[in-house]
């Protein structure tokens, strides 16, 4: 076991972890933040996407010890129901961008990462960026709409 210190959703946390502890399991089982979902656990589905020092990464492909000293944002740090939803969460709500919700936290983190870089993405850019996040329910059409909805809200905020 080793001690690590991570800023999680703005809060400093010190925890003891085993070397082999995946960042994903650390988030879910040690921090009890179960909004980050475990899908395939080998990098294929994107359900476990989080922001590490502001960049989208797959938490199933890193060890918690490697995140020592970093800033981590999970879906819990993005916004909350009912009155503090993030614009991307609003978008998914308004456009029915989810059904079972399994892929949703990962979709939202990847969408936030996209919009931070490109505030007005085209359909194609959204599809390309979210191609690494698998959804078994929606057929993706409403997810693309949800991201457009969030992008439009962001543009309104700017003006």
């Amino acid at each position: 076991m080793r001690e690590i210190e991570i800023t999680v959703n703005g809060e400093r946390r010190r925890e003891a972890v085993e070397d082999r502890r995946l960042l994903l399991d650390f988030i879910r089982e040690d921090l009890c933040l179960t909004g980050t979902h475990a899908g395939c656990e080998h990098g294929a589905c994107g359900a476990c996407t989080v922001l590490l020092d502001g960049q989208a990464v797959r938490s199933c492909l890193m060890f918690a010890a490697q995140a020592d000293g970093s800033e981590l944002t999970t879906i819990e740090g993005v916004g909350s129901y009912p009155d503090r939803l993030h614009p991307v969460q609003e978008g998914f709500w308004e456009e029915h961008g989810l059904q079972c919700g399994y892929c949703t936290p990962g979709m939202i983190m990847a969408s936030i990462d996209l919009l931070a870089e490109n505030p007005s993405p085209s359909d194609e850019e959204i599809r390309e960026r979210l191609a690494g996040n698998i959804c078994r329910c929606t057929g993706y059409v409403n997810i693309v709409r949800a991201v457009h909805h969030a992008a439009a809200a962001g543009r309104e905020d700017q003006s």
Binding site: E18, D19, R20, L22, D25, E41, H42, G43, A44, G46, T49, Q55, A56, V57, R58, C60, L61, M62, F63, A65, Q66, A110, D113, L114, R127, E128, R129, A131, G132
Partner: protein
């Protein structure tokens, strides 16, 4: 889907990292971006007593031009190689190929040194490395040596590294002025591993091609240069018809293995298509130069 126990070693200098590796080379596995290794560990296809994490070692990342070479540090992330103005200017073929590597979240962590060491025959960067005759720099406590990409890749997922060596740099030749380039792949879906890749670079003299380089990946155990296609381009003007002709020649000159999902004939046909498309891209960048 949890990795077996191991000890994580996180040195901060190159000398320390090489010393750690030299202590027990056969029991130590190097961890770079983890985008290929960690899936294998989670599935327990790879178990190791010691994991040597290069992420905290200073001076292993970053890109710079030294003379006629673009020097890419092993820990340079794919995303940096894709977006860096230095790479785009000195070796645009690499920057273009990087756009096809997995997804952004994979490219944020995966590294140039990692994909070279992993030596997957369908990986984009190794195909570019073979096409351009990139040099792979290997370091150990015993010293430093350089291998040509064509000698480094010895089979699918196999390389010529000794157990106590780490890949520390990859050197790509700086693009000769006015040269044309193209990269094409066929993947079932954006970001998926491709079935085949093709990388080309042509130097130009009086509108005719000289020193053509063409490599394809996925058509054998390692990416390979296609000598016949290269000579077919020599001294001729690149046109759509020539691109088509060279694509056909490429398909004839490879003999990919049959697999349950991708037959030899299908893969050969894909080789024809990607070589043609890579050459068409080269043609387009020629149009821009005019």
């Amino acid at each position: 889907m949890k990795p077996a126990q191991f000890q994580l070693l996180q040195p901060t200098t190159r000398a320390e990292a090489l010393a750690v590796l030299a202590e027990q080379p056969d029991e130590t596995v190097i961890l770079a971006g983890g985008q290929s290794l960690v899936p294998l560990m989670n599935m327990r296809f790879v178990t190791a007593e010691r994991i040597l994490d290069l992420n905290r070692v200073s001076g292993l990342g970053g890109v710079e031009v030294r003379g006629d070479r673009l020097v890419v540090g092993a820990m340079t992330r794919h995303r940096e190689a894709e977006l860096s103005p230095v790479v785009l200017d000195a070796c645009p073929l690499l920057a273009h190929a990087e756009r096809h590597v997995g997804y952004v979240s994979i490219r944020n962590r995966g590294t140039v040194g990692g994909t070279i060491a992993h030596a997957d025959t369908v990986a984009q960067v190794p195909c570019v490395a073979v096409a351009l005759d990139a040099r792979i720099v290997l370091e150990s406590v015993r010293g430093r040596r350089e291998l040509a990409a064509g000698d480094f890749f010895v089979g699918n997922l196999m390389n010529a590294r000794e157990p106590d060596e780490a890949v520390t740099e990859v050197h790509f030749p700086v693009r000769p002025v006015g040269s044309l380039f193209g990269f094409a792949e066929f993947a079932r879906k954006v970001g998926d591993f491709p079935l085949v890749t093709a990388a080309v670079r042509l130097e130009q003299g009086a509108g005719l091609s000289r020193s053509a380089r063409i490599a394809v990946g996925g058509a054998g155990p390692t990416p390979v240069r296609l000598a016949e296609c290269e000579s077919a381009l020599e001294g001729r003007e690149l046109t759509g018809a020539l691109a088509e002709e060279v694509g056909r020649l490429a398909a004839e000159s490879v003999s990919p293995a049959d697999s349950p999902f991708v037959s030899t004939d299908y893969r050969r046909n894909l080789v024809r298509v990607v070589v043609r498309r890579a050459l068409e891209q080269a043609l387009d960048c020629g149009e821009e130069l005019r």
